[in-house]
């Protein structure tokens, strides 16, 4: 029943996507508005199919319909409801269905948002491309990655349940869906970018249409990546949150290119420049999300996340090749139309800073991409086994991040066009003074080490610069000084600074050890006391565990454990973390006592400021929301730059705020002509 419903729903969605794509392309090529209007309705067919298929799979998982291969492999009688629901994305074919559902949702949102403009070729082509992407993913579900395959022969009475690592933390319910909302969300800007190239309307139109879409996708992706780090910190038990694992990198590379895009977009809106570059960034971002899916799902790279299925690997790799080749081909085809009319006057200007930002993000993406796939390249070239691990990424990205922090401090105060030394001298004085004060305070407080001091100093510089912008904006505009792209962007910068500082602190000043403690014994390490109270055995429905009771600093008792899942190959360690604003104490059970009363080996990691990474993530998400908040629109008659005579005459006394970089044709043209 579930299988039949699910499979027909997937077929429905696939048929809708294919038919819609054909209808739209026919309508566009022949110029038939009726076909374009008809094409839009297929969005609802796709959405209906995706929703029904998801409900069918959820129903099968929740009611434990073991006739389905997917349920038999990823569900069990003992699995609690939450993890039966999340089992949908705890393996390959279910997660592809989640991808399809999210994509269908985005397509529906596009259809609603652009409902009045369905006959516009730009929207038509964009929708057709969205349908094509949907057709690919629903096609996968019909062929190599079918979540509704049924078991031949006897129906099993029980299954192994989801992977043990995917059923012991609540974050499993949030991290993958958020990540997918981010990765899939880049389909929309990609579709519009391609549509603009196809229609030849390569101006700023597509950019403005998709600005908020990109922002939301970016926000979701940021949230997904940070929650992923949090999950890995809470579950994996090695005391870290970012291992430069290939699959972490795979989601991080599109994040880097998307971040570059969010910045360079402003140059195009303001100065009508960098068109080819922005299109390339959007196409690269989407291609890289497909590459990320390939790397995650094909098992070519060793990773904690890999699912090992080569059938889907070939399909995803082909799709990546088609997307990348298509995008590059379109760019080459329209290359002659993409000539920017503008010029950049000085490297020391807002647009110059955005160029530098893009250079750094480009280098960042290159380093992470190269490092991630290099083991495969080396293997292919001369069969050599090479590892590219955290020390490489730390070494290579450190200078980039330092430069980015510096740029984050300087760029927001730079005027467009050209800055003088005088401007920088005055606007940057207080941020720089704050940075030096923080440095002095750190050294006086006993912080030693060049790299962390540099990070703290530059972090304070960037943070103070962002705060300065926010203070100026709120003084001028009241609460509106927090909303709009520029102001929200400054809040995002504050979140990034928090993360950078916390990252540097926890990396530089973490101390780890193993304490061998007999029951009742207390020992001191790194300013904290640890008392081992004894062991406890836990018998849960899904697993059994031995837990060490450890009292930290004479207060609360924590329970690092080792769990034994009946179907897992090895025992799963579960850390226990005490989080405080100053430091985290990360406890693991390295070795349970050999016999009752014998000492247990407790792994201890003391890491300062880790909590601020999650706080920074929250600040970034808040800032993203505020950025997307509709700011006050500038009247189209006002020039984008220069003395706003009309506003001055109106005597409101409110100067155009930084959030009013809202583009409009008049401003762009004015900049282009100058």
């Amino acid at each position: 029943m579930n299988a039949a419903v699910g499979e027909s729903a997937v077929l429905l969605a696939l048929a809708g996507a294919v038919a819609g794509c054909i209808t739209l392309v026919l309508g566009l090529v022949r110029g038939r508005p009726t076909l374009l209007r008809a094409g839009r309705t297929y969005t609802w067919v796709i959405l209906l199919g995706a929703v029904i298929a998801t409900l069918a799979l959820q129903h099968a998982l929740i009611t434990r319909d073991f006739r389905l291969q997917y349920v038999a492999n990823n569900d069990s009688l003992a699995t609690p409801l939450l993890f039966r629901i999340t089992a949908m994305w705890s393996n390959l074919s279910g997660s592809i269905l989640l991808w399809g559902l999210v994509l269908a949702g985005y397509l529906a949102a596009v259809a609603v948002h652009f409902r009045a403009r369905m006959t516009d070729p730009l929207v038509g082509w964009a929708t057709a491309i969205g349908y094509a992407v949907a057709a690919f993913f629903f096609g996968l579900m019909m062929t190599v990655s079918n979540p509704f395959t049924t078991i031949h022969g006897a129906t099993p009475t029980d299954g192994p349940g989801p992977d043990p690592l995917l059923q012991n933390h609540i974050l499993v319910a949030f991290h993958p869906p958020l990540l997918y909302l981010g990765l899939v969300g880049f389909t929309v800007p990609f579709a519009f970018a391609c549509a603009s190239l196809i229609t030849g309307r390569i101006g700023e139109g597509w950019l403005i249409e998709t600005r908020r879409w990109t922002l939301f996708a970016w926000g979701f992706l940021t949230g997904g990546v940070i929650l992923g780090a949090w999950w890995s910190y809470q579950v994996l038990g090695w005391g870290g949150y970012w291992a430069w694992d290939p699959v972490e990198n795979a989601a991080f590379i599109p994040w880097i290119t998307a971040t570059a895009f969010l910045h360079s977009v402003m140059v195009q809106e303001r100065r009508a420049m960098l068109r080819v570059w922005n299109l390339s960034l959007v196409i690269a971002t989407f291609s890289l999300t497909i590459l990320a899916t390939f790397l995650t799902r094909s098992g070519v790279l060793e990773s904690v996340h890999s699912f090992n299925n080569t059938g889907i690997g070939a399909a995803l790799l082909t799709f990546f090749g088609v997307i990348a080749a298509g995008g590059v081909g379109l760019l080459a085809w329209r290359g002659d139309r993409l000539r920017s009319p503008g010029a950049i006057d000085s490297p020391v200007s807002r647009e110059g800073a955005f160029l530098a930002n893009n250079l750094l993000f480009g280098a960042f993406a290159l380093v992470v991409l190269l490092g991630t796939v290099f083991p495969l390249i080396a293997q292919a070239v001369n069969g050599e086994q090479i590892t590219v691990g955290a020390p490489y990424f730390d070494r290579m990205t450190m200078p980039i991040v330092v430069c980015l922090l510096f740029l984050m401090a300087v760029a927001p105060v730079l005027p467009w066009r050209k800055a003088s030394a005088e401007v920088l001298r005055r606007r940057l004085f207080w941020p720089a003074a704050t940075a030096v004060a923080v440095l002095v305070a750190c050294v006086a407080g006993g912080v030693r080490g060049f790299n962390p001091l540099l990070a703290f100093g530059l972090g304070a510089f960037a943070g103070a610069s962002a705060l300065r912008q926010l203070i100026l904006a709120t003084r001028r505009q009241g609460w509106r000084g927090f909303v709009g792209r520029a102001n929200g962007g400054m809040i995002v910068h504050l979140g990034v600074v928090l993360i950078a500082v916390a990252f540097a602190a926890s990396h530089s000043f973490a101390s780890r050890t193993q304490l061998s403690l007999a029951p009742g014994q207390t020992t001191r390490y790194d300013g904290h006391t640890f008392t081992f109270l004894g062991m406890r055995t836990i018998n849960a429905a899904t697993h059994s565990a031995v837990e060490a009771r450890v009292r930290v600093d004479g207060g609360q008792v924590y329970g690092p454990a080792v769990s034994d899942y009946p179907f897992a190959n090895e025992e799963i360690g579960t850390p226990s973390v005490r989080s405080r604003p100053t430091d985290d104490i990360y406890l693991t059970l390295a070795a349970p006592p050999a016999k009752a009363g014998a000492p247990a080996v407790i792994g201890v990691v003391v890491e300062p400021l880790v909590m601020w990474i999650w706080v920074g993530g929250g600040v970034i998400l808040g800032g993203t929301l505020l950025s997307a908040w509709p700011g006050r629109r500038r009247r189209p008659t006002d020039p984008a730059s220069g003395l706003p005579a009309t506003r001055a005459a109106s005597g409101s006394g409110s100067a155009p705020g930084p959030d009013e970089l809202e583009p409009e044709p008049a401003g762009v043209t004015a900049a282009g002509l100058s």
């Binding site: 904690v304 380093v367 020390p391 467009w416 066009r417 050209k418 780890r512 792994g603």
Partner: protein, 183 residues
């Protein structure tokens, strides 16, 4: 005040920053045996697990590697000697950071080449943009500027921006729109 003196506070900041960084950077560090062991183990891949270093993982193979490193450090061996011993046993894949030789060189050099090429490209682009900066000003433009300048004084935002741009583009370049520093 002469322009040079306006930079005096900046000079003070720069001197303080440099002094503080020099003071804060320990020159002679004597890490403990355990810290040094963990540092070297951090450069070594855990041979069994995925994506962790021998410093982070507690599986038997990593524990043995850490023990070995500690013994060799106690015996006075250098970091490079210890690492090359591990490479001899496990192959180059045991190192978390590829050595900058052979094919491993690529992964170090390509990003640097990329950045240098991009900076070069940007420099060329700026060199090309420069000549076109000669503003095309005709009578109508001058009238527009004159009109704009007749705006009553006392507005906070225009001032700074106006001064910021030393004649770059006539009338444009209001700088950071709406910055009220000048107030």
């Amino acid at each position: 005040m002469r322009p040079v003196w306006r930079w005096a506070p900046w000079l003070v900041l720069a001197v303080v920053a440099v002094v503080v960084l020099v003071v804060g950077t320990p020159r002679h560090s004597h890490p403990s045996l355990q810290a040094e062991t963990l540092h070297i183990a951090g450069l070594v891949r855990c041979p069994v697990c995925e994506g962790q270093s021998a410093a982070q993982s507690d599986v038997a193979a990593s524990v043995q590697i850490r023990n070995q490193i500690q013994q060799q450090l106690t015996a006075g061996q250098s970091q490079s000697r210890i690492l090359s011993g591990l490479v001899a046993a496990y192959g180059p894949g045991i190192l978390e950071k590829p050595e900058a030789k052979g094919i491993g060189l690529v992964v170090w050099v390509v990003p640097v080449i990329g950045v240098v090429a991009a900076i070069g490209g940007l420099a060329v682009a700026f060199a090309r943009w420069r000549p076109r900066r000669t503003p095309m000003v005709n009578a109508a433009d001058r009238e527009l500027v004159a009109q704009a300048l007749r705006v009553p004084p006392g507005r906070g935002d225009g001032g700074e921006g106006g001064r910021a741009v030393d004649g770059g583009g006539a009338g444009v370049g209001g700088g950071e729109a709406g910055d009220v520093d000048g107030r």
